[in-house]
């Protein structure tokens, strides 16, 4: 039967093999190429096990042996806050169960599973970066901000901040972000003074450290000289240090009569696009006008910096009138600049007019020490040649004589050492200044010329204290004894008339009747303005108050507080035409179309004579 067994074929042969499992690929999102990974802050761990063509049955992530997450698939993701771990090295393991993929019989039927594991070293470092204060240096290129390089780890960037306003520390603007850790300076080419602050922040390890602010201050370029030179003013200013410099602009505004208008109303008289241009001479001044100058620095983008205003005295400006008294025979210097707070300004005096009320000598000293001109003040005006005049600092005044018989003074003469008041009144009219005293003079403020002078009559014992101005340009001046009529065109006294001494009051001009009306609480005096003829002189109750004249009705009325009545009188005759009771404290409104309107605490009364 053995032969028969050979006759029937039996398959034979074996294929013994030794399969090898395929190693899976285990990956972690942090860094697959290194076994040591530096971490900080919160991070998302994404892990995955892959074995191409073969399923992954489970994965597990462990840190220091503790399971962080376990999944039934090929991987997963989990957020980990590394701050819960101490600074230093920790192990992180990724474990996986995968089909072997060996090709063995067991693998082919799906029951061959192999474990896989990969381990990394986590270096946890949550140290906070420290940003020390930067240094700031202003150069021709701009403000250079420098800081020490951050050399630790996990550098992300430097953030540069500009603090535009030193007074607002919380206001800052991010001006640059630098991602190169080796770069340790940054130039702010947009720096445009005068003061600005800088700080920077280090972003590293998921943290930000901000340095203290460092302020840098650059003086604003400004005028340092505004000197009258000849007929012009020489201006000089400091050079702009800003890289963003665009141009200088010089503003000028006139300051009439000592006023100080805003320099921002000024007009540009010159502009310079070169930062090296630092001088300019203004020769376009008008005579007799003082100016203020201001330097404006403009950046290339239009930003502006304003320097301080720099006033100058006008070429030909009149010295402010002043009074000075000194004992006879003494000699003292009067510092003309003492009245000005600006000690750097210069007084450019073209003419000096001295009103002589007593014999005196005046010397003009350019430097305050040396007398250039010494002359007895017999003339009233001392002229200074503008072409040779140097800045005047002092005016020396020396008195040599005392009172004069024909001088007119009020009170005790000051020259004897008595500091009593000198009567000195002014009448302003259309820019003309009139000095009262022994002489009266009028000046044109533009041309600085004396347009009229006059000598007041011997006043006796009283001073000039009231005035009246007519629409025709005629003046009337009254003192206690006399009424003067003055022609404004020639500024001469035309006529004088005696006035009752006890009749003291307001002088009004009545253009419709061409009358001068003198109202007193206890007297009404009326003059004809043409020739100062006395028209009426009527006694009124001394208790009359608030006397007013109504030109339509020709009445003069007022409240007689003592009688508690409102009373009206005819102008010409002084006849009382109205007397009505009013409450004390009534307010009176006059001249209402010939009527008198009274009001008193809510009611009104119209009176028609």
């Amino acid at each position: 039967m053995a032969g028969c067994s050979d006759l029937v074929y039996e398959p034979s042969g074996e294929n013994p093999v030794d399969p090898t499992a395929v190693a899976p690929d285990l990956t972690l999102n942090l860094n697959d190429t290194r076994d040591t990974i530096r971490v900080w802050g919160s991070l998302q761990l994404v892990y995955e096990a892959t074995n191409i063509g073969y399923p992954v049955l489970a994965t597990r992530l462990l840190i220091d042996g503790q399971v962080i997450q376990e999944t039934g698939g090929a991987g997963g993701a989990v957020m980990v806050d590394t701050r819960q771990f101490s600074t230093g090295s920790h192990s992180i393991q990724l474990q996986a169960l995968v089909r072997s993929g060996s090709g063995s019989v067991a693998d082919a039927v799906g029951i061959e599973v192999i474990p896989a594991q990969r381990q990394w070293t986590l270096v946890v470092d949550n140290r906070v970066p420290v940003a020390v204060a930067p240094t700031v240096q202003v150069t021709a290129a701009g403000a250079v901000v420098s800081w020490p390089a951050y050399r630790t780890f996990a550098f992300q960037g430097y953030d540069l901040y500009r603090h535009p306003d030193p007074l607002q520390p919380n206001q800052r603007v991010l001006v640059a972000t630098i991602t190169d850790p080796n770069r340790t300076s940054w130039t702010d080419t947009m720096f445009f003074g005068p003061a600005v602050g800088y700080s920077y922040a280090i972003r590293a390890a998921d943290k930000t450290a901000t340095s203290n602010r460092v302020d840098v201050s650059v003086p604003t370029p400004d005028l340092i000289e505004a000197t009258p030179v000849g007929r012009g003013v020489r201006l000089r200013w400091t050079r702009s240090p800003f890289a963003r410099f665009g141009r200088y602009r010089l503003l000028r505004v006139s300051a009439l009569n000592g006023e100080s208008p805003s320099i921002y109303d000024g007009r540009t008289i010159a502009a310079f696009s070169s930062a090296d241009s630092t001088t300019y001479t203004d020769t376009t001044q008008a005579f007799g006008v003082s100016y203020r100058y201001q330097l404006v620095i403009e950046a290339t983008d239009g930003a502006t910096l304003y320097g301080a205003t720099r006033p100058t005295f006008a070429l030909g400006q009149r010295i402010p009138s002043f009074r000075y008294s000194a004992p006879v025979g003494s000699q003292q210097a009067v510092n003309l600049l003492s009245a000005s707070s600006d000690t750097t300004s210069r007084l450019n005096l073209q003419s000096l007019t001295v009103e002589r009320t007593y014999p005196a000598f005046v010397s003009v000293s350019p430097d305050g020490n040396r007398a250039a001109t010494v002359a007895p003040i017999t003339a009233q005006t001392v002229l200074v040649d503008p072409n040779t005049f140097a800045p005047l600092k002092q005016l020396s005044l020396r008195t040599t004589l005392g009172l004069q018989p024909d001088s007119w003074y009020q009170g005790a003469p000051p020259f004897l050492g008595n500091e009593g008041p000198l009567v000195y009144n002014e009448l302003q009219f259309s820019g003309v200044t009139v000095y009262f005293g022994r002489k009266v003079a009028a000046f044109d403020p533009v041309t600085d010329r004396t347009i009229a002078t006059m000598t007041t009559p011997p006043p006796g014992e009283s001073s000039v204290s009231v005035q009246a101005i007519s629409s025709s340009g005629r003046f009337a001046i009254i003192n206690r004894a006399y009424l003067y009529r003055i022609d404004a065109s020639g500024f001469r006294m035309v006529q004088a008339a005696p006035v009752p001494v006890d009749n003291w009051g307001m002088l009004q001009f009545l253009p419709t009747d061409d009358l001068l009306l003198r109202l007193n609480p206890n007297r009404l005096t009326v003059f004809r303005s043409e020739d100062l003829t006395l028209v009426s002189d009527v006694a009124l109750p001394a208790t009359l108050r608030e006397l007013h004249y109504d030109p339509i009705s020709g009445l003069v009325g007022g409240v007689n507080e003592a009688a508690g009545r409102f009373e009206a009188y005819r102008l010409q005759s002084g006849e009382q035409v109205l007397s009505v009771p009013v409450a004390v404290g009534s307010n009176v409104i006059y001249r209402l179309a010939g009527s008198v309107l009274l009001s008193n605490q809510g009611w009104a009364l119209r009176l028609t004579p």
């Binding site: 028969c4 006759l7 029937v8 074996e14 093999v17 399969p19 090709g103 063995s104 019989v105 799906g110």
Partner: protein, 241 residues
């Protein structure tokens, strides 16, 4: 060789002897022949290659065909009845087998895919003696052959100490024509015969033994049949009654 096959061959031999010794039978010769068979079985080769690839694809990465339907021995029993002169009527019953194996053996288990293929053939034809000189003769045969094919498809998967085995039996029936030439030397009633023959047969698809509609296709979608076309070199011993 199974008992069943042995009994079948024994009965066939007894049948031939009885036919030769029957009254009226003259010059009847019975031969028993052992052969070395070479078969085409092309479809089975292709199917085995595809199965091998499928096994690798399925995860048995190292699965490999270690036995691929090799040439193998067979046996035939013939009976010849002279018709006229040099022409005899010949009838025979034969058996042949071969097989294939895909195998993988590793540390975890074993994969074994065996195919045991066999056939019974019955043929009838004529044998002519164009040349005879003394005890030597040259003989030519032409036969029509009927083939009954049986294939046991046995798969075994063993993992560690657990195994799973499945056996499927498929059958088919085919027909063919065989021509052969033989040299024979006769000494008395005993003759020694050496023959070479070529068989051209159909290769109809195998199907389940209990369901002829369930035909066998390989993974490429091609029907798989056992095409026994091939050659047979055989030596036979005969006895003429």
């Amino acid at each position: 060789m199974s008992i069943r096959t042995t009994l079948t061959l024994a009965l066939a031999g007894i049948g031939c002897i009885l036919m030769a010794s029957a009254p009226g039978a003259a010059q009847t010769t019975v031969r028993i022949r052992g052969s070395f068979n070479r078969y085409s079985l092309r479809a089975l080769h292709v199917a085995q290659q595809r199965t091998e690839a499928d096994a690798q694809t399925a995860g048995f990465r190292y699965a490999k065909a270690v036995d691929t339907f090799p040439d193998h021995t067979g046996v035939q029993i013939e009976a010849l009845v002279p018709l006229s002169g040099a022409v005899s009527l010949i009838g025979s019953i034969g058996y042949g087998s071969t097989g294939g194996r895909i195998h993988q053996l590793d540390y975890s288990g074993e994969l074994r895919l065996d195919q045991r293929l066999s056939h019974w053939s019955g043929s009838t034809g004529i044998e002519a003696v164009p040349l005879k000189q003394g005890p030597h003769s040259i003989r030519l045969t032409l036969s029509l052959v009927a083939l009954a094919t049986s294939m046991k498809d046995e798969s075994l998967i063993r993992v560690l100490d657990e195994s799973h085995q499945e056996t499927t039996k498929l059958i088919s029936s085919d027909a063919g024509i065989e021509v052969g030439a033989a040299y024979q030397i006769s000494v008395g009633p005993v003759s020694l015969n050496a023959r070479g023959a070529l068989l051209a047969a159909t290769g109809r698809p195998l199907h389940l033994s209990d369901n002829d509609k369930a035909q066998l296709y390989d993974s490429g979608g091609d029907p798989v049949g056992a095409n026994w076309s091939g050659s047979r070199l055989s030596i036979g011993m005969g006895y003429t009654f």
